[in-house]
């Protein structure tokens, strides 16, 4: 492997941070000529960021990129295209209000450039006068691919192209990828489906926490080895220690049985939302912390939108305390005691207002409270501040608080207002370990006091620490359920990839 093979693309020490969040620490990636190269990593490892940097959609903070040994300055997407790189992004880059033909024209392409590729993908009969917004997502992905191929690139980058495709459509993509390799060109392939990766790819680069941790030739490697490489050997001891506070006394197994007798506060019965949520059913009991995990884009966002009253299910029903939920907006869900801590803290808070004001916003819902709060409500806000251990001195503007403290305020709002069921969407993303453990304690406390918690998290190691039970979602369905205490990261990640071992 040390022999210098001719490299098509060499990215060296690529780093990128968004404010305090480090997306890429220092990533190296070398793609040889005539190979299909997999870029792997867990959620948030930095794969998409790296692809965007290589496509010159976003600039890197540091690092160098060389194409065919020549250093390339990629400032705008056109530079990357000129260097022979064509990308199919996770979201289709087609203009919704224009027809397919018009979209080709703005890409300086003609029908005849893409037709040979579309025919290969069984789309040769497509009507180019269709408006993009009327075309199904899967077909748009294939059109995007045909458009990228028509540019005849040296390197084709495919970011999660198969996620939206049916099996036969995915096969067309694989055929095209193999042909591309046979022509002596290269493909950079990102996929959560490890089976595909092992079938197709020659080499793999694995990212973890924004750094490349492994470069492998994939021959003779199996899925378990890839999963281990993605997760790393890093132990979670520090985290376990931080969380093993005296409040978390009872072991999980007995807790589950004690909750079995509790009433069901929230139930989903075969719930659908368009093609994103495809028949989800579960029950959440009083005092229970139910975990949910999934790879990105498996319908978890939409499921939480349903539960929080943002959308109504297109089929199936949601029951709150046995009554059907008819939510026209989150207001209705909140009235039923169903409250959400969303993924984006900024959108949940009033960033320029004080901690106290933010904590009291849900209390202003009643018209009699438009001007001032009753004394007992003020006391509740005080108690929430004390309980969350928020530093109020720096709290004249919530936006000045650290991410962790902001998150405490989003949870604290509901503590002050009162609730039955707390929906948390990835509440610990980008938060320091100490605040994380405080949030874990808080969730356990509210559950011990009789509330129910439904927690989506992308951090698998949180699940056995916080939850009683865990669900795994894949392609809009619940594919796996188990007691959280016995769930290991390997089991969850395998289930999240919908690999066979999980259901066996």
């Amino acid at each position: 492997m040390t022999e210098p093979s001719p490299s098509l693309l060499a990215a060296d020490g690529i780093a990128k941070r968004y404010g305090p969040v480090v997306a890429l620490r220092s990533a190296d990636l070398t793609v040889g000529v005539g190979e299909i190269h997999a870029l792997l990593g867990a959620n948030g490892a930095g794969k998409s960021t790296l692809v965007k940097i290589l496509s010159a959609v976003i600039p890197s903070d540091s690092g160098t990129i060389a194409v065919h040994g020549q250093r390339a300055a990629l400032r705008k997407p056109a530079d990357s295209m000129a260097a022979g790189i064509a990308t199919v992004f996770q979201d289709p880059a087609l203009i919704p209000d224009l027809s397919l033909a018009q979209n080709l024209r703005i890409s300086r392409l003609d029908k005849d450039d893409v037709l040979p590729w579309l025919e290969r993908m069984n789309l040769g009969h497509i009507d180019f006068e269709l408006q993009v917004s009327d075309v199904p997502l899967a077909v748009l992905r294939l059109l995007d691919l045909a458009r990228a191929l028509a540019r005849d690139p040296q390197l084709l980058m495919l970011d999660e192209i198969t996620a939206a495709l049916t099996t036969d459509q995915a096969e067309y993509v694989f055929d095209v990828m193999r042909e591309w390799r046979d022509r002596g060109r290269s493909v950079l392939f990102i996929s959560h489906r490890l089976g595909e990766v092992l079938d197709l790819c020659d080499q793999a680069t694995i990212l973890r926490n924004g750094t490349d941790v492994a470069h492998l030739a994939l021959e003779g490697v199996d899925e378990a080895e890839l999963v281990t490489a993605m997760l790393g050997e890093q132990l979670v001891e520090e985290l376990v220690e931080a969380v093993a506070s005296p409040t978390a006394t009872s072991p999980s197994a007995p807790t589950v049985t004690s909750e079995a007798g509790q009433p069901v506060v929230l139930a989903a019965r075969d719930v659908h939302l368009r093609d994103k949520v495809n028949g989800v059913s579960f029950e959440l009991r009083r005092g229970e912390i139910l975990g949910l995990t999934a790879l990105e884009g498996q319908g978890q966002d939409e499921l939480f939108q349903l539960l929080s009253g943002d959308h109504r299910p297109s089929a199936g029903e949601l029951l709150v305390n046995g009554e059907r939920l008819h939510a026209r907006s989150p207001y209705d869900a909140i009235k039923k005691g169903l409250v959400l801590v969303p993924a984006d803290r900024q959108s949940a808070l009033l960033p320029q207002r004080s901690v106290r004001e933010n904590l009291s916003t849900p209390l202003y819902n009643r018209a009699s409270r438009w001007f001032s709060l009753a004394d007992d409500e003020k006391a509740r806000v005080d108690r929430a501040v004390a309980r969350l251990d928020i530093d109020v001195r720096a709290g004249s503007q919530v936006q000045r608080l650290s991410g962790g403290n902001q998150q405490k305020v989003t949870i604290g709002r509901w503590l002050a207002a009162g609730f039955d069921t707390l929906l948390c969407f990835d509440p610990t993303r980008g938060i320091d370990i100490q605040t994380k453990s405080q949030i874990y304690d808080l969730l356990k406390e509210v559950a011990a006091e009789g509330a129910a918690v439904f927690l989506y998290t992308s951090e698998l190691r949180e699940i056995p620490l916080v939850c009683d039970r865990v669900l795994v979602m894949y392609a809009g369905r619940i594919v796996h359920e188990q007691a959280a205490a016995t769930a290991t990261e390997e089991m969850l990640l395998t289930a999240a990839h919908d690999l066979d071992e999980a259901s066996a």
């Binding site: 087609l94 024209r105 006068e129 009327d134």
Partner: protein, 337 residues
């Protein structure tokens, strides 16, 4: 599942008809409304004839061109409150420079004013892209700046133009008469060329692309900043055309006309013409009858015996109704799919 999605990609006759309706139905409808209103007007006025038609077409020319200016910019995702100010500025500049000149010289001046206005408004577009200040704020500023410059160019109403130049826009050397053809032909040619450019060429389609989905456009390799500047330049050119028409009709310039009212008319006209204020959707062809209807509404209402304040109320209600109809159509389409 695959079979269904495959079928949806091949278009049957019914779907072709529905698609035509969706793409051009609004344009068709506004033209129909305009012709209907003209027909109705002809029954109200006993002496209806070519003089009335010429009056509608000629006097409607400035608002039509100003609406096209606004449409080009709004389709590309912006909005220009300054177009009315630019109309006044170009009108008084032309009137001052053209006074006492021969037809040939006034033509050269017209071309100069046209390009100067395009360049000036391109500068406004450039300021928006580099400063990242919202369009509406910068162009609110440009409205007052243009108005102020216009007042210093021509403090009191005056100036003039050549007879030939007046004929070009009004079909009459005195600016009043019964000949609608020069104005009608000019509107048709200029707007058709602009509509062809926007709908068929890469650079024109880029305007729709940026207005529709700026991120997707960027990922397709379109340079959004340049497209925005182009849209402001083209819009500036059309605003100047409106200003020149204004000078030709009045035979002089008047900087005390407030451009803000004209801007609001242009926005009302594009809304009626089916241009989405969120960008990416709209047809310049539909903006022609929309602008004419807006101009034409008050004479009709006067003929019907409604007093002028009533005319304004009806105009306002009409704009809101149009927006509600647009919303209803969109809502029904989403429910069907």
């Amino acid at each position: 599942m695959t079979a269904v999605s495959q079928r949806a990609l091949v278009t049957g006759t019914q779907a072709v008809w529905r698609r035509w309706l969706r793409r051009h139905g609004w344009t068709f409808g506004v033209w129909l409304l305009f012709l209907g209103l003209v027909a109705y007007y002809s029954t109200l006025i006993p002496s209806f004839g070519s003089f009335q038609v010429a009056s509608i077409v000629n006097n409607g020319t400035p608002i039509v061109f100003l609406a096209v200016a606004q449409a080009v910019i709004v389709i590309a995702g912006g909005i220009d409150l300054g177009v009315g100010g630019l109309l006044v500025l170009t009108s008084v500049t032309a009137a001052r420079l053209m006074e006492g000149q021969s037809f040939e010289v006034t033509l050269v001046i017209a071309v100069f004013v046209l390009f100067a206005a395009a360049l000036l408004n391109a500068g406004i577009g450039w300021i928006i892209t580099v400063s990242n200040v919202p369009d509406i704020v910068i162009t609110l500023g440009s409205l007052y700046v243009f108005q102020g410059i216009a007042l210093s160019v021509l403090p009191n109403p005056g100036g003039g133009t050549s007879e030939g130049f007046r004929w070009m826009f009004t079909g009459s050397v005195r600016g009043i008469g019964s000949n609608p053809w020069p104005a009608a032909v000019m509107i048709t040619i200029v707007v058709l060329v602009a509509a062809w450019w926007m709908g068929k060429t890469r650079s024109g389609l880029s305007l729709y692309a940026v207005g529709s989905d700026a991120t997707a456009a960027y990922l397709s390799g379109i340079r959004a900043a340049r497209v925005k500047i182009i849209s402001y330049a083209v819009g500036g050119g059309f605003a100047a055309l409106a200003g020149l028409a204004n000078t030709a009709i009045a035979g002089r310039g008047n900087a005390t006309t407030f451009g803000g009212n004209l801007t609001l008319n242009s926005v009302a006209a594009i809304v009626l013409g089916g241009v989405a204020l969120t960008g990416g959707i709209g047809s310049l062809i539909a903006v022609i009858p929309a602008g004419l209807i807006l101009f034409f509404l008050s004479p009709i209402l006067t003929a019907m015996g409604v007093d002028p304040s009533g005319a304004q109320i009806i105009q306002g209600v009409l704009i809101v109704l149009v927006m509600m109809v647009t919303g209803l159509i969109e809502w029904r389409r989403q429910r069907r799919s």
